[in-house]
Structures are given as C-alpha cells and as structure tokens.
Symmetry: D3
Subunit: 333 residues, 6 copies
C-alpha cells in the first residue's frame, strides 16, 4: 500500500493568521453519491507563533459535551484574543456522530483504536491517517473530549496516562489540573495501541482527555465543565489572553489500579444499579443486580464490587448482555 499524502483536502491554510471556518473534504464515494464528499467541520484560529492546541470532539460519535463545547469555542474565539493557534475538530468521527453511534456506521470501526490510520483504508482509518500525518505534527497540545457515550455515565473528570517520559507526565498533570474538572483520572493504560492518546504521547506532546457524563445526553453541569475546561487549557498554555478563569475546586485525583475495579455482567439481564456515580462502595458489596423479567421463576443475581472505592462509572441502558461492564471503581491517588 502507498504511504503517500492523505486524500483528504481542505481550503483552509493552517499557516495563515486569522480565523478560518470550513471543512475537511473526505472523499466518500457511495451508492447514493458516486463522487460524494464528507464535509468535516474544522475551525482554525491563529495569531502569531504561540503554541498550537488541537481540540477534538466526538472521537466516539455518541459523546456530546465535546461537539457542543467546541462548536461554541469555535464561534466565540477571535484571533485578536489569542497568541498561537487553535485547531478545532468538533466531530472527529463524523459518520458515527451523524448516526449517533459510538462506532462508525460505514466500517464499524472504533476511531480510538484506528491510529495511526491508513491512507487507503476504511473511512475511519482515512480520517485517523489525516489527523496523524497532517494535524498532530502541527500541535503542541491535544485535548480530546470524551464522555461516557450511550452505554455509560461517568463522574466528570479529566484523564491522563502514566508516561515513561516523566517530564511529559508532569506537564500533562499540570494541564489536567488546569482543566478544572471535579476529578482527574490517572490511568495506567494496559493496551493503548491504536489510540489517539498514544499517537500524541509518542510524539512527546501533551495529551489530555476527558470523561464528562454520558448516557448519550447532555446535562447542564457537564456542558459547563467542558466550556470552562477548554478555556482553562487555552489560558494555561498562554494561548488565551483572558483573565484567568474564576477559581474552581481543586481536582480530586484518582486512579483505577487494576482490572478488579471493573464489574461485569455475568448474564444477559436487566441491570438495576444499587449505587450511583460518586458513591463510596465497600469491597464485596453488590454495586448492582441483574433481573430476569421474562422468567418469573429465576432469582436476580447480585454483582459485587471486588474492590472498595468510589463508583466513577456505571452502565446506563438497563438491558445488559453477558460481559458488559456495569460499573468501574476508582481510588483516590
């Protein structure tokens, strides 16, 4: 396969000062449009040679705080108020976003397992390849706004990884705290291959992610966290010349030490939570219960926590399949 330049084109000039609002043109030949194009919205605001921050939303198509906060930011931000460059992609996996699904309906792929992508691959891979080869090299900092999506809801938090480059880890921790989410999650990613996170970190750049609510809905407080967080990041890196954001509560740092923190359903059933996000759970306590409504003779099954800690995530849809994650427990760092 060729490793030439991406087939994605754009009328925007990333090196130009000023504000440009437009599209990435992603070729998308299909039955209903032989020479169709997917138009991915992008906004670039630049003023001089300060640092470049790349914001992405809808890496998973059913996570909405990112697209909304980033669309607002793209409309609001003017070049004369910044020093540096801000690149905003509110809907990274646009086909998934249009379908209101986690994964792309075109190829069934998870954008966040598709990096570094492929020029001649499927739609998701083609987008990942463009981001990897064209946008990441321009960026100093990448902030990828996730939420729990339709299947999960989380304690709103910013997320970073333990890194072997300790200087980069320290800078990332500063960014995480600057974001100003109620909680900060420091992850030891067991298998990070294919993630945007990994692609950025391996380039030695600051990468920050978030998990802001979920359930395929937006809420007033989680949108506020996202709105404030993206501006805080721009201030932190000196891109936004605003007065500093109003002081927020310090971020509570947490970790998910091992896979015992995940509680999975052992059967198909109807999931009843016994704790809500933010509650403290003791080891052995059932965090939820599976009901078998169709079989009136069958007893419900409890789903115990294997570790004590704070419930930071629970499943949203009641209907649950064997193997689905129903809860995640974190511990203070």
């Amino acid at each position: 396969m060729s490793d030439g330049r991406s087939r994605i084109s754009t009328d925007l000039d990333f090196g130009r000062d000023g504000k440009q609002v437009g599209y990435l043109n992603v070729p998308h030949s299909r039955d209903s449009s032989a020479w169709g194009t997917l138009l991915m919205p992008i906004t670039v605001i630049r003023n001089g040679d300060g640092p470049t921050v790349l914001f992405t939303g809808a890496n998973h198509g059913d996570e909405y705080e990112g697209p909304v906060a980033l669309s607002k930011l793209a409309r609001a931000l003017e070049p004369d108020r910044i020093d540096g460059r801000v690149i905003i992609l509110p809907a990274l996996n646009l086909p998934a976003f249009k379908a209101a699904r986690r994964l792309s309906p075109i190829d069934g792929k998870n954008m966040n397992r598709s990096f570094p992508g492929s020029r001649n691959g499927t739609m998701t891979e083609v987008i990942a390849h463009y981001v990897y080869t064209e946008l990441l090299p321009l960026a100093d900092v990448v902030v990828d706004l996730h939420s729990g999506g339709k299947s999960m809801t989380l304690l709103p938090c910013a997320v970073m990884h333990r890194l072997s480059d300790k200087a980069l880890e320290a800078r990332t921790m500063e960014a995480l705290q600057a974001f100003g989410a109620p909680a900060g999650l420091v992850l030891e990613e067991l298998d990070s291959e294919g993630m945007l996170d990994t692609a950025v970190e391996e380039m030695g750049k600051v990468f920050l992610s978030t998990e802001l609510g979920g359930g395929g809905t937006l809420s007033v407080p989680t949108v506020a966290i996202a709105d404030r967080g993206v501006r805080n990041i721009l201030s932190h890196f000196g891109v936004l010349e605003d007065t500093p954001a109003p002081s927020v509560e310090p971020t509570r740092l947490m970790e998910v030490p091992d896979t015992d923190c995940y509680v999975a359903a052992g059967h198909d059933g109807l999931f009843e939570p016994l704790f809500e996000v933010g509650d403290s759970v003791a080891a052995g306590q059932p965090v939820g219960r599976l009901h078998f409504i169709e079989d009136p003779h069958r007893q419900p099954v409890d789903l115990p926590a294997r570790r004590a800690g704070t419930l930071i995530c629970r499943r949203v849809p009641s209907e649950t399949e064997r193997g689905d994650c129903v809860a995640v427990i974190a511990q203070d760092l």
Copy 2:
C-alpha cells in the same frame, strides 16, 4: 371479525387462593417457529375476597422501574400477608420490552393506544384485547407503572386524570397521594382514546399511572419510589396487611394546563438543555438550544418556554428531530 374469547390461554386460575407464578400463552406463529408461543410472565396472589389490584409494567417496552419493582413484588408477596388479590404483569408489551423499545417490534404499535384491542388483530392488539376482556373485569384498581423511556426523563410522579365521575376522581386522588411519589400530576387528557387508562376509567375503576425517571435506565431513587409506591397502594386499599409505610414527604400536586407547556424542536439538531428536571423556568426563557455541529457557519437556535413553571420533563438523546418534544413545564395545582 369475530368477537369471541381471546386466543391467549394460561394455566393460572385467577379464582384460586394462593400464589401462582406462570405465563400467559400468546400464540405467535412466525418464520422461526411455526407454532411458537410468546410466554408473558404473570403472577397472581390471592387470599379471600378482598379487592383486586392489577399492576402492569412495560406498557412501553423501554420503561424499567415497573418491571423491576413488580418482579420484586411478585417474588416477595405471599398470600398469607394479603387480603384480596394481586395480579402482576411486569411486562405488558413483552415484545417491545425484549427489544428494549417503546413500541412493539412485531407490529410497530403503541400498546397505550391499542385498547380495547382486537382478538384477531396484531400482537399488540391481541394482548390489549386479553387485558381488556379477561383481566380488567377482575380488577378494582389498576396501577400502570410508566417512566420516561429512552427519549425522555421526568420528575418522578404519580399521574391521574381529571374525570367526569367526580367520586371516582376523588378516590383516584387518594390513591395518587397514597402512592407517595414526590410529585403528582393531574392531567386533562385531550385525546385519551385507545389508552389503558381510559379503558379502566370507563369501567368506573381506579386507575393510577406513574412517570418515574427515564432515559432507558434505572436509578437508585426512582426504583425506591416504585418499590415503596406499589406497597403503599396495596396498604391503601387494604390488600397488604403490613404496618404502614414509613411516612414520606407529601406529594406535590401539579398540572400541565395546556399544550403551550410543551416545547418542541423546530429543526433537526443537537439538543443542549439549559435547565434540568425540577428547575423553575420563566416564560420566554430558553429551556434548551439546538446546535448544528455539521454546519460550522450556522448559529444555534434557542428553544424558549412559552409558560412559566417547573420543568418536569426533558428530552434525553441529544440527537433531535424537527417536532420532537424537548421539554414539558408544569404548574403547581
């Protein structure tokens, strides 16, 4: 068409004392099973000649407090603790429940617009016809547990209608207050044809409904309201010989006076709520906003409340179509 007896059969004997756990056998010939049967779970507990309470859940298949609370009740209730009869159908629209959808995947029908049903009709109509002809005549009180379903979330409430039979209305109001939900909604149903509610009310029996949360998920507090409410109803009507339920806050009575209380989306877009359920809204204030993420040049559109009051319902899925209800406002009675 014939108006003979329902084709649905059961091994249960509604006139027998004791506890019977079993199924309604609904004939369901289909491609994968020529002589298939849909087994609808049902529990009957009877002790003497006291009143009969019929409980139904999952009238809409994506509303879960009902099925869970009623399954628990069916397991827990023993005949020697009651005086009368309790009939429990935890999943009235079982095909919709199995599909985790509001409407039946078999015929696309809304169970709550299908009464009095039809012996030779579609699956939903056949079930409605059985309930109408076989179960309603046995009942003195019918409680139908709804929630908001996958598309809406509501302030947890019990629901009743204004009735022309004022004595029945008064008895219903007592039942509503006995249920013990935080709120009580008194509706002037504009077009109630086809509803289970109407079918029961026209027989001169007490009918109570609920709206308990929504979003296609269960929550710890809404399950607790349902668990407590069904027992409160049994105590209120003298069926459950328990000590009375622990005193709960009095129910706040509300109404939705007219269609101006509903806020609808005027465009396809991404819905951002600006108020949460339970918040007070002033007339003219936007209760939410539609974003057009795919079109970075298009401004969001505000969705103003036409009436002041309390937001008792909002849309859950962010993706929204023209005409979707995004909020409902109620006023104190």
Copy 3:
C-alpha cells in the same frame, strides 16, 4: 370498506375447456415499481362438467412439497385425460415463497389466518379474498399441501378436521385415505378462525390438508408421497381417468387429543432432540433437552413429554426461544 370484486385479474377463463397456463395479476405498487404486478402462476385444466378440484401449495412460503408436486402435475396433466376441472395454484403465498419464509415479507401475515381476506387489505388479505370470492365457489374439493416449514419436521401425513357436518366428515375421511399418505391426522381444531380449511368447510366442501416433512428442504420420499397423493385424489373423485394408483400401505389414523401433546421450550437455548419423528415416547420421558452453551456453569434442562404416544413432529433449528414448540405427540385413533 367496499366489498366489490377483487382487483386481481387474469387472462384465464375458468369456464373454458382445455389447458390454460398463466397468471393471476395481483396489483403491487411499490417503491421500485409504481405500477408493478405480482404474477401468481396458475394452471387450469378442464374437460366437461365433472367435479372441480382446487390444489394449493405454499400457503406458507417455506413448505416445498406442494409447489414441486403441483408444478409437476400442472405440466403433466392434459385435458383429454380428465373429466372435470383441476385448478392449480402452486404458490398461494407467492411473496412468502419468493422470500423462502413462512409469512409474507410484505405484510408479515400468515395466509392461513387471513381468510376470508379483504379486497382493500394487505397483500396477503387481497390474495385470500380472491381465493375466497373467486376460486372457492368454483371448487368441489380443495387440497392444500403443507409441510413443516423451516422450523418443524413432521411424520408425513394427510390432515382433516372433525366436522359438525358428519356426512362431509365422512367424505373427507374417504379422501384422506385415498390420498395415501403413511399417516392421517384427524384434528379437533381449537381455533380455526381465518384458516383456508375453515373457509372451505363452511361452504360444505371437502377440504384436505397435508403435513409432508419440513425443515425447509425437500426429500425423496416426501416428494413421492405428494406426487402420488395429488393423483390419487384426482382418481378418487373421478377427475383423473387413470388406472388406479398402485396400492399403497393403508394410512395409519392418528389424533392429537389435547394441548398436553405439545412440548414447548421453557427457556432460550440450544435444542437437542432425544427422539426422532415416528418414535414412541412414554409419558414423562424427556423428548429433548435445552443446552446453554454460552454459560458453562448452567446445567441443561430436560423437556418431558406430558403424554405417551408417537412423536409426529419436532423442531428443526437447534437455536430455540422460550415458548417454541419442540415436539408434538399423537395417539392412534
């Protein structure tokens, strides 16, 4: 609704002597053909004023002995060999047949619950209405060839009903024995509303059905039974002037006395039969077993016969849903 004549037309003249091979033209406006027509194959062979036998196949679209035996008969039969009239519809539910499904893919309906049909109804109802209003009045005898379809396999048999008109029942029994299938099933249909059977019987005409194998496949012996049976019927009623068919074994008469003869699956699972069609089963013996392959901790469940007798039917697809019929037991008459 109008009760005018059917919209189905044909170039064939049922009153004309000779052999006519053609179509019923069923209007079928659809997205891909605004003025489309469904062409239902039909053959009419007539010679003088002898009795009229109407043969139908694929009343359910996944039952194949009928279509094959009737297509052969339609090609082979010449007017100079008969005395009377033979009308052959090899594929009554043509849309279901084309889709290789039991029910019509157009309206999801079971043809054999759609009589007397409706002029302005759905596709299945429109066909039933034509048969009811145009073909049944022409017929003296109706033979409707069924098999088990994709979900069931049966001991090959001819089938008739207990009738209140005892003279008609006797004539039907003679026809059943003349058909020459290995077995003959005499059914007390509990709920026969909507069946072609009922429509014919209520007109006081001889109606015979069959169940010949199944599993959505053809077999050498069951095709032979069908081939021979349709000619035997024509001989029996004096329509075919052939030498009589070679003597066959006498038909073993059986009945299915009550619903205890049906064995249903109580759970979703993988069905393992423990008896084959034709085997003798004692009451209480498990006729099959449900396995739960996905859950290695769960024990299989036995499915016991509630009555002794001969297994005349078992489920074919291993994957089985709660409520599916897995076996039917018959007793000698």
Copy 4:
C-alpha cells in the same frame, strides 16, 4: 372505532385573511421520541371569499416537481395579489418524501389508495383522514401534482378522469387545458377506490392531477411546466389577478383506452428500452428487451407493444422484476 375529529392540529386559521406559513402537527410517538410530532409544512393565503384551490405535492414521496413548484408558489404568493384562498401542502406523504420513497416507510402504505383515511389508523391513513375531513370541505378545486417517481418516466401531462357528472367533467377539461401541459390524459380509471381523485370528484369538485417526468429526479423543462401550470390554474379560476400567462402550445389530448396499452416484463431481467417517451410505436413492435446478463447462454426476450400509439411512459431502473410495467402506450383522443 371512533369517528371523531382528527388528532392533527395546526396553529393556522383557514378562515383568516392574509398569509400564514406553518405546520400541521401530526402526533408521532415512536421509539426515539415518545411525544414526537411530524411537522407537515402548509401555507394558506387568503383574501376574501373567492374560490379555494388546494394544491398537494408528494402524494407519492419520490415525485419532486410538485414539492418544488409548490414551495416556490407558497413563498411567492401574496394575499394582495389574489382573490380567494390558496392552500398549499407541498409534501402530502411527508414520511415518504423524507425517505425519498413512493410509499410511507412508517406503514408501507400508498397515500393514493388510503382515502378517506382513518382517525385511528396508521400514519398515512391519519393524514388522509385529515385531508378528507378538514381540507377537502374547504376546497373548490384540488390539484395534485404527480410525476413518474423513481420507477417510471412520463410524457409531461395533466390528467383527468371520465366522470359520470358531465358538467363536472367539462369544467375539469377546461382546467386541464388551462394548466398548459404539453399533453392531457383522459383516464377511464378502472378501480379508483381509495384515491384522493375519487374523494374529491365524489364531492362534486374539480380535481386535476399531473404526471410530470419522473425517475426520481427533476429536470429544467418539467419544473417549468409545473411552475407555469399552478399559476395558470389560479388564473383560470380567477384566484390570481395576474395578467394571463403567456400563450402556450395547446395541450395534446390523449387516452389510454385499455389494459392492452400496458407492457409488462414477463421475467426478472435487465430492461433495455427500444423507444423513448414521445416516440410512435406500431402494434407488435418490441418497445424494449429483457437481458439476462448473469446467464451468458440465455437469449434476450423482446417485449412487444400490443397496441399502436405514442409511448407516454417507460420504466427507469434497468433492473426489472417479473410483472413490472415497462411501458404505457396512449392514443390521441
């Protein structure tokens, strides 16, 4: 079933002078929106007590000249230029139009076989019922703009029926000629039950239809015919006080005398036309040919005209099923 007033509501006041642009609110509860509404665009322009003309488009959802010409008309028409009332429904079968299909994706129904509709029926029936009970009584003249849809293309023409009320037929013929299409088709509808046409004609009102191109596309000339025709009709009935439309060629009157004018495919195959719309065809000449590309050993099959005349319609999609209409031949009146 109830025969009460339609559940469809609107903020528009049909009796008010001036121009009102808004929606019919069609209740549409569905899985993704429990209390959803289908918003059907409608425009009413009224000035005094002149006659009322009702225009409808997209009776079939894949016919586009109507929606476009009527949207333009609705935007352009101002009350001070008219005398009377114009009611414009650019997309009568809105769900079909949104899906770009002939039939409604919600219930699979053909709007033009669904009149007089039903209050409690399916979506298509509910819309038909509203039109029948609320709009037709207001109208003096109804013009329903059709095209060939995705499967057919036609010689652009206005269409009327032979009527038993000869005075009404004469007035309709005048309207047909006033419309100014290149051709005028006078049909003897064999089975008109359920059509909007019939509903209007039976009320003794002028009903005019059109067939303007097709193939699921718009063309410059057919849009021009529609744009001009709707204004000509308004002028003809004295509603539009414009100077008369520039003189157009007189309409060529044609008829389709019997079903021999229709040519149908006898097999599944790939349709190659041998004549285009407007060409003269002799009886016996093949109007097209079916190819069997997948079977290189099979010869193509010619599809001969059974009558001489002008080809006024041919099938568009090459892929063709047995029974599909591939051509219609008309004769000059």
Copy 5:
C-alpha cells in the same frame, strides 16, 4: 499473506481458438451456501495471434450500457470474423450488479479503488486480484465501460488520462477518437491509486474508459453509442475484420482542468437543476438550487458554477446530502 495464484478458477482456456462462453468460479462461502460459488459470466473469442482486447462492464454495479452492449457483443461475435482475441466480462463487480448498486453489497468496496486486489482479501479484492494477475497480462487493450450510475448522468463520452508515457498517450488518444462517442474527456487524474485504469496504464497498455449516460437507466442513444463503440475499437485495433463503421461525428475533446469544475451541495436538501447536461454555463451562474421543503420558512440556496464551460454531468436523485457533487463543468480542449 500469501501471494499465490487466485482461488478463482474457470473451465475456459484463454489460449484456445474458437468461442467459449462460461464462467469464472469465485468461491463464495456464506451463511446460505457453505460451499457456494459466484459464477461470473465470461466470453472468450479467439482466432490466431492478433491483439487481445479485454472489455469490462459494471465495474460499478449500477452502470448498465456496458453489461448490455458487452452481452450483445459476446453473443454476436464469432471467431471466424476476428483476428486476435476478445475477452468479455460484462459484469466485473457482479455482486454489486446483482444488487443494482455502485459498490459491492458483500464488502462495501468500490471495485475501481481495489486494484491490484488481494488473493485473500474481500470479494471485491479477490476479483480485482484475478483480473490483475490473470487477465491483464493477456491483454493489449482494455476498455472499461462506465456510465454515471444511479447518482449521476453524464454527457456520453469516452475517457482517457494524461500519461507520462507520451507514446502510450498518443495511442490511447487514437483509440478514444476511434470509439466514436460524441465527446472525449481527457483527465488529469489527481489520485488514481487503486483504479483499474492505473493498473493497466502502468503495464504500458492502452486503457480506455467511458461515461455513457447514467441515472441507473438505459436510453436508446447511449446504448447505441456503446454498441457502436465496442465494434469501432475492435476495428481500430484490427481485431474485427468488418467493413468500417459508418462515419460518425468527430469526437469533441474536453477536459476538466481542476477541482473548481465540480459543484457540491453545501447542505442537505432537494436539488433542482437549472441547467441540463450539454448546456453552456457562465462562471458564477447557479447551476442548481437546494430546496428545504420541510422548512417552509427557509429560503432555497443557489449553487453557483465557479468556472465557465459545458455542464457535462449533473446529479440525478433530487434528495441530496451535504457534500454531494451536483454538477461537473468541462472545457473544450
């Protein structure tokens, strides 16, 4: 992955003189046929050692002039009339052709971006690999007959590329003019990776393509162009010993100099063309317009040409998505 020989087999012997009509056997194991085979029709006609011309149709499955003209050619051509070898594949992407879709329904792939294919890849890749490894080496000239497909219609033309090998370009230009289409398009393909075109050109062989109409239909004139063109090509290369084809108009040579020649829709809407194929357009003139029928308050949007020239292509389906190409403008060479 292995790079062994293709799994596709055939009974045809490409080296044998005479005419052979048969199939390529493409292994196609699937749910409904464990050991199924896709039978791709192929015809080989050979007489001695003259040049080999390979004709392919239905590279995209909804383009029909190729399959029809090539099926006719395959039936008509006899070895004694030729000098050399003609290999005819009327339906290159047979699964897409059977589904009447541009792309393969099996793997969603575009055949014309799948070269050189892969032995162990998906169905489309496996076919491309066979053509690349087994057929292209046999060919001196490849003619791949395209049309606009269901979404586009084009001015009928033959198509070639600017080539770095100028001698090959000159020979290709001679072939293009010999084909005898009304127009000839000379393309500077920006990104030709994966195309059959490129695969052939890189082997130093003459490659000619066409665009003949579209809209998923056939027309009398475009079929005639294809019929004549394929014979002209055979004559031009000395394979067909016919008298030369009757003189045709010289081909008008055109080019599409840059991406400004493409006009795309900026919104979802209903596309109304303002010019037809073959019309001259001035820079800045709107070539079409997007209507928003569902929103009666929203004005249509014009879609202006960015360059002057001749409209050689326009979108067919009125329903249009953001990013769809609605028109292409070419300029005389």
Copy 6:
C-alpha cells in the same frame, strides 16, 4: 501493526492441575457497550503431564454437534479420570454461534479462513490469533467438530488431509479410525490457506475434523457419534483412562478425488433432490432438479453427477442460487 500478545485474557491457568470452567475475555467495544467483553466459554481439565487435546466446536456458528457434545464432555470430565490435559472450546466463533449463522455477524468472516489471525484485526481474526498463539502451542492433538451447517447435510464422517509428513498422516489416520464415525474422508485440500487445519498440521500436530449431519439441526444419531467420538479420541491418546468404548463398526474410508465430484446449480431455482445422502449414484444420473415455480412455462433442469460414487452431501434449503453446491460425491478409498 504490532505482533504483541493477544488482547484476549482469561482467569484460567492452563498449567494448573484440576478442572477450571470459565471464559476467555474478548474485548468487544460496541455501540451498546463501550467497554463490553465477549465471554467465550472454555473448560480446562488437567492431571499431570500427559498429552494435551484441544477440542473446538462451532468453528462455523450453525454447526451444533460440536457445541453440544463438547459441553457435555466439559461437564462430565473430571481430572482424576484423565492423564494429561483437555482444553474445550465449545463455540469457537461465538458471535456466529449466537447468531446461528455460519459466518460472524460482526465482520462477516469465515473463522476457518482466518488463521493465523491478527492481534489488531476484526473479531474473527482476533479469536483466531489467540487460538494460534496461545492454545495451539499447548496442544498435541486438535479435534475440530464440524457439521454441514444450515445449507448442507453430510454422511457423518471424520475428516483428515493427505499430508506431506507421512508419519503425521499415519498418526492422523489412526486417530480418524479411533474416532469411530461411520465414514472417514481423506481430503486432498486444494487451497487450505487460512484454515485451522493447516495451522495445526504445519506445527506437526495431529488434526482431526468431522462432518456430522447438518441442516442447522441436531439428530439423535449424529449427537451419539459426536459424544462417542470425543471420548474415543481421549482414550486413543491415553488421556481418558476409561475402559475402551464399545466396539463400533469399522470406519468406511472415502475420498473426493477432484472437483468433478461437486454438483452445482446452474440457475436460481428450487432444488429437488433425487438421491439422499448415502445413496449410490451413477455418472450422468441427475442427482437433483431445479424447478422454476414462478414461471409455469419453464421446464425444470436436471443436475447430473459427473462421477459415479456415493452421495455424501446434499444441499438442504430448497431455495437455491446459481453456483450453489447441491451435492458432493465420494468414492471408496
């Protein structure tokens, strides 16, 4: 792409003595479960250092003797009865098994063409990669239980390949005969790339497969063959310390010498078999016939055997597509 260790994990310790029943945890992020896991049942029974036998079922998801016999074996086998290790995977392609389909519904792939798999590939490839990298290295013998699946039925047989390693071939032949199926098929696989068979054989290990019935159903005799066969294999390799299985008929050895033994349908049609599995067929005899029920004018087409022998396989579903295999003929070795 990385070639690191599989992302599939398990709590089981393959090196531990005793019986462990659990799951392979296959990461399966999807729209309905962001952090979902597919739980593949696995049982490991170990006692000391004897040989390891790996059993797999449902390599194709619609083949059921394997899953049932292996689930029984996994429940019945206790460590104190064995010497060595038995690893049991009753449902290798679990997603296909859950969907009751041959191929995986997730990626459409054939598990038995997906070896050696890929760490970062699709679901089927990820499972194959785990088996290849983690389980095959542990095994001395691999037995993969196939049946005919939904589309075919076979003479019950064990299957092995001709191998270049003649010592391995001899040991495999001994295992084949030990299995005790009525027939043994020795195949010269023409294209074995991607098969589990090949993966094992290339490691120099004994690989045995079976074909036990089919039609997507289980039968009493084929389950018995599977139950007995898996125990016979364990006894043969000294793993099971049972008394030897009761003597069975010697296995009849057969081969399928070339592709002329396969009979394929040349048209779409309805397949009527003229021979059953186990019957002797002469060369030239029709083994079946294709009927064209929809076209009453078209004659059936015979499908002749090209070779004499025993029919060991025939198609099950009557509906048949061009290219489908309808019969396979084998010859005694």
